[in-house]
Structure formats: structure tokens, C-alpha cells
Symmetry: C2
């Protein structure tokens, strides 16, 4: 798989390769990471694997995949531990994965846009609370649905892994703390040994880069 040579977040587990590392750790599969620089990501060799010039990408024999959601799902399909065996429970776990990526993450990506790309825009201060309110709406719905359960639908699944990966983008925003059961849900996931190994491995890359 590929990951940032120098992650914009300094290895605090925001770059999307964390989701793939975590999935591989959950199912106990070893992996090799190839680091790519920002300029390499826009070169033909990388674009041949990911036409959008992003990380992570994933190679397994002849197969090349991109999109963290797709890679995580591929891993979950091939190895036990991330998808329930019951067909209906499996479909529901997949549904949560899509909900994370297509309903919960889009307003969070808008938040990242306003905080980073539009930091100096004249409308930054006015627009930020609007975007935060759109996120709060989704968090309130998710919070009500989770209730006091440990995970979204029975046992921990790929749906939780992707949802937590999305929610963690809000770690430093304070928004998660407004929903104590969601903050506890993310903390519960971060306490999993597989997550810790993935996080440490990603942080080690950033530490090596900053020392290099």
C-alpha cells in the first residue's frame, strides 16, 4: 500500500492510509508500505494506480485498488473479523460504511475546506458556524442511533472502522465532545490494539520524516 511520505497532519492519524492499516491490523495481515511524496502522487506512475492522485493505494498480486473505502472493504471481504457472517447483518455493516463515507463525511470535508483552504477568505468567520451546524445535525442523528451501544450494529465491524475513521477528522474541532456517546465510541475504537498498532506505525513514518 502507499502512504504520504510527509503527512499534512504530522502523523496524527488523519491521512486515510490509517483506515487501511487499521483494517489490516484487525484481520492480522502483514503489509508493506511504500511512501510517496506530493510530487510523485501527481506523476504518471502513481496516476496509473489512482487516477485522482491520492493515497492510499493497494496492490495485491495483479490487483491494484484505490479509495480507502474500497480497499478496507476488499480486506474485510477476504479475511475474517470485519464483516458478520449473517447475510442481513453483513448488509447492514456495509450500509454503515456507505453512510460514513457518503452522508457523514461530506459535511466534514466541507469543514476541512473552510478551516484549511478558505482560512483567509473574507467569509471564513461567517461560514464556519454554518458548516459546523451541518455536521452537528449528522452527529445528533448518529448519536441518537448509537444510544448506549458499544458499536453501530452488534459486534465491531467494517462499518464502525470506517465511521470512526471519518469521525476522527473532528478530533481537534471540539464538535465530538458535544455528543458524549460519540466521543466515547471513538475512544473505544482507538483503544483497540489493532488501531493502536496502525496509529503507531503511521506516526513512526512522520517521526522518521521529521528527523530525516
Amino acid at each position: 500500500m502507499t502512504a504520504f511520505e510527509r503527512s499534512p497532519d504530522g502523523g496524527r492519524g488523519q491521512a486515510r492510509d490509517i483506515r487501511v492499516r487499521w483494517a489490516l491490523e484487525e484481520v492480522g495481515q502483514p503489509y508493506h508500505v511504500r511512501l510517496v511524496s506530493f510530487s510523485e502522487m501527481k506523476q504518471p506512475a502513481h496516476l496509473a494506480v489512482n487516477p485522482f492522485g491520492q493515497i492510499p493505494t493497494y496492490e495485491e498480486g495483479d490487483l491494484c485498488l484505490f479509495e480507502s473505502g474500497s480497499i478496507v472493504f476488499h480486506i474485510a471481504e477476504r479475511h475474517a473479523g470485519l464483516l458478520p457472517e449473517d447475510a442481513n447483518a453483513r448488509a447492514r455493516a456495509i450500509t454503515w460504511m456507505f453512510a460514513a463515507l457518503n452522508t457523514v463525511e461530506p459535511p466534514i470535508l466541507e469543514f476541512v475546506t473552510v478551516v484549511i483552504l478558505e482560512r483567509d477568505a473574507t467569509w471564513h468567520d461567517q461560514r464556519l458556524p454554518l458548516v459546523e451546524d451541518r455536521i452537528r445535525k449528522r452527529l445528533a442523528e448518529l448519536s441518537r442511533c448509537l444510544g448506549d451501544a458499544d458499536w453501530l450494529d452488534g459486534a465491531f465491524s467494517v462499518g464502525d472502522l470506517v465511521m470512526v475513521g471519518v469521525l476522527r477528522r473532528l478530533n481537534r474541532s471540539g464538535l465530538l465532545d458535544e455528543f458524549p456517546n460519540l466521543a466515547a465510541y471513538v475512544a473505544r475504537a482507538e483503544a483497540r490494539p489493532a488501531f493502536k498498532r496502525a496509529f503507531e506505525a503511521q506516526l513512526a513514518v512522520a517521526t522518521a520524516a521529521s528527523n530525516g
Copy 2:
């Protein structure tokens, strides 16, 4: 499945139930549509099926699903016609589905936000071209990858269905026309008999609502 009783777009095929209708038409499965009003969507009965209060939802025996991406994938897994049999080609088709929902659609959702929700904001005129440029970047990458092929990876698949569903949100923006091969790709998909049946069925609901 559920759909809007009165679609905000007047039935021009933007509401996400079109993606589910289209998938069901491609695999030749009959379906029953239950229309829900905006107020019903936020009531406990609907929230029990979709915690985010959106359409479409999907019921099949004991199974209740939400998220158009998840429902379309569920249909593609259970019926022949939308996923290749070869394992690697199948994984790539799934990758395109995720790319559509998590890489191409987010800036398009920002566009919808700026055009509709922030129509009267003081920053509307300044921000619109920024968002359009983010979309153009993704469209340029997709256009280069598609080249002169008919579909994204060999035969038409669930990846094309979801990607076209996403790109069609730009139908009236003029942005697609800047990339002739993408405009032709969408037109090619819209010419499929299954799409036409899905579109007509959705339009019929809107026509009935406006006459009712």
C-alpha cells in the same frame, strides 16, 4: 423502497432513488415504491429505517437498508448484470463506486450547497468559482482516465451506474460539457433502456404529485 412524495427537482432524476430504481431495472427485478413526505421522513417510523431521515430506503423481507450506494451494491451482489465475475474486475468495479461517492461527489455536494443553501450569502459569487474549480479538477482526472472508452473498466458495471448517478447532478451546471468524453459517457448511460425506465418511473411520480 422509498422515494420523495414531492421531489425537490420535480422528478428530473436527481433524487437518489433514481440510482436504486436504475439498478433494479438493470438486473430486471420488480420493485414497489412507497412515497414519503418531507415531514414523514423526520418521523420515528422512517428514522427507524434511516437514522439520517433520507430517502431512499430499501426493504427486502426482514432486511432494511439505507444509503443509495449500499442498496445499489446489495442489488449488484445478489443479481447478475452489475458486477463482473472475475474477482479482480469485481474489486475494481467496487472501487469506482467508492470513488464516485467519496472522491467525485463531495465537491459536487459543496456545489449544491453553494447554489441552493448559500444562494443569498454575501460570499456566493466569490465562492462559486472556487467550488467549480474543485469539481473541474476531479472531472479532468476522470476524463483522462476514461479516455475514449465506453465505460470505466470494461463492461458497464455498478461503478459506472453510481458514477453516472453522481455526474448527473451537474447536468444543468454546464461543467460536464467542458469534458466532451464525460458528457458522452453520461449520455451513453442515459440511453440505456434500464435508465430510461427508471427515469420515466421517477418522473411519473412527480407528474402525479404536481397534478394531485
